[in-house]
Amino acid sequence: MLKLKNIYKTFNAGTINEKVALYDVNLTLNDGDFVTVIGGNGAGKSTLQNVISGAINPDYGTIEINNINITKLPEYKRAKFIGRVFQDPMLGTASDMWIEENLALAYKRGEKRSPLKWMIDSEKEKIFEESLSKLGLSLENRMKSKVRLLSGGQRQAITLLMATIKKPDLLMLDEHTAALDPKTANLVLTLTKEIIEEHNITTLMITHNMRDALTYGNRLIMMDQGKIIFDVSGDAKKKLTVEDLLKKFNQTKDAPSDAMILG
């Protein structure tokens, strides 16, 4: 359903700060794929997602979703296909608006927003209440609270709900549990899995946690220096261990330890 062909992206080309972020990336996702993405800092994972979402334009290459070429579509027009959750819990919600208002905004993702229709009606309210109660965080009792008053974990749960309340063709998660404490991270990850499985959403999930990368999803890709260097799925992925992944990591020119030293 998603097809990336020969994607290149270099930041600050021609200056001393030149940085190759993506180099000839080819990737095809099938419907219902749940892909975990790993790779050292600066490997190009976030850039890959930003290129798909349209937040960044590639230097070269084509992007197709459902056989539609979206390479030249601006970000706001691609929103129709894509739901996103970021690492920073502040990024995914409008903090001065109510929980239910945030959900109502997300409910209309990629659709026309009428200047004559009230943003929330009782019917929508019921839908929101129901989906909030599924999170199990008692947020359905606080629909008229400002999101600003919520914790990071609660916000990420809501952002996740927002990204999926209208089923996206592609869900992209960029280390969306990295800013949470281990227990909350687990909770949000479990919710993620439940939602993805319930609606069978094609997903691209970046994580630094190798165990999570192995536990979740049916496919795993590893990136290094702007390239996809490893791509396993199905049974091969199931057999993979953390040790295997670490070994792979250490073979890369840009092993995590080096990357950290080089900053």
């Binding site: 929103a79 409008a94 109502a104 229709k117 609270s145 609660q154 404490d181 909350t184 909770l187």
Partner: protein
């Protein structure tokens, strides 16, 4: 005394429409638009000359709004298409508008409309009220209409995306909203109201002046700030809109008092600048005070005094929820 008080209230309603415009950009869209001083005068100038050209008063008001909207369009395009920072875009437009406003007024600094019939003279004729009181009636009617329209607009699906653009642009763009267009729309709408306000002031004063918008942005911000002092506890959106107009009325009452105390009307520029500075610096002062009070016994009481009651309840609920859900969220 009553007379000047009523005059001040009337001024407050008329300028209040401009404050609503500033509220849209400054508070809702989170864009500092300084076009105001220019577009206010443009609205007034267009109104005066079209009235002199024997056009119907209500159509003249409409033309003033359109003119204001065009000023906003320029600033908006400079900001969204040319990516010039909003403040600079507004300053540039405002500067250019000074020349344009002079042209509109036929290269004169001011143009009188004292012999012509306007909405205010009409109201005065049918109600037998004085010119000042009729002006107040006009201000009240137009303010109410504007508040109602804005209240409903901002509650719609489209309006919500305007509020969201001011709150978290990245998010709402990722949800499929062309935020550049939203900003453009907001800045245009804002300046339409500002132009309308300028036109009403011309009716009130019976002349248009090229410098009539001078300091308008500071008056507007001061009004918003004063309104917030009175309505701080209210979260309702409609109340916030009303609060801006209320703040503007208080502002003009203060102005009337200041003048009565023997200061000049021009001193108001300094006074309003000081009001805005105090309001903007207040949160920092409060924070510093709070720092000093850390560990002191009555700190909890201060905390309660400084916070909205709702917020305290919300805070408590957050804590309770954490323990209830066992989610382990940190505060």
């Amino acid at each position: 005394m009553i007379g000047s008080l009523l005059g001040a209230i009337g001024q407050g309603f008329i300028w209040g429409v401009m404050v609503l415009g500033i509220f849209i950009t400054y508070k809702i869209l989170n864009v500092s638009d300084l076009t105001v001083d220019g577009s206010f005068a443009t609205g007034g100038a267009v109104f005066a000359v079209s009235l002199l050209a024997n056009i119907d008063t209500s159509i003249c008001l409409l033309l003033a709004m359109i003119a204001g909207g065009l000023c906003g369009l320029i600033t908006g395009l400079l900001h969204t298409k040319c990516k010039i920072p909003a403040i600079l875009a507004g300053i540039l437009t405002q500067l250019g508008l000074y020349s344009i406003n002079l042209r509109i007024l036929g290269d004169k600094a001011n143009v009188s409309i004292s012999q012509l019939s306007t909405n205010i003279t009409f109201i005065s004729k049918i109600t037998n009220l004085t010119h000042t009181r009729s002006g107040m009636v006009l201000g009240i009617v137009v303010s109410i209409i504007c508040v109602l329209i804005l209240y409903f607009l901002l509650g719609t699906e489209f309006g919500a995306s305007i509020r969201a653009t001011g709150n978290n642009e990245t998010m709402i763009r990722a949800l499929g909203v062309n935020t550049d267009n939203i900003k453009l729309f907001g800045i245009i709408l804002s300046n339409m109201l500002i132009g309308l306000s300028g036109a009403m002031l011309v009716q009130m004063n019976k002349y248009a002046d090229v410098g009539m918008g001078k300091g308008a942005i500071v008056y507007g911000l001061a009004s918003i700030v004063i309104g917030e002092v009175f309505f701080r506890r209210f979260q309702n959106f409609g109340i916030k809109l009303i609060s801006s107009i209320f703040g503007c009325i208080v502002f003009f009452i203060i102005r009337a008092i200041v003048i009565r105390l023997g200061l000049k009307a021009n001193d108001m520029q300094l006074i309003s600048a000081v009001i805005v500075v105090i309001a903007l610096a207040m949160p920092i002062f409060k924070e510093n005070m709070a720092m000093r009070n850390i560990g002191k016994k009555n700190n909890w009481n201060n905390y309660r005094k400084n916070k909205d009651v709702d917020e305290i309840v919300e805070d408590k609920m957050t804590r309770i929820n954490v323990t209830e859900s066992g989610g382990g969220e940190y505060a």
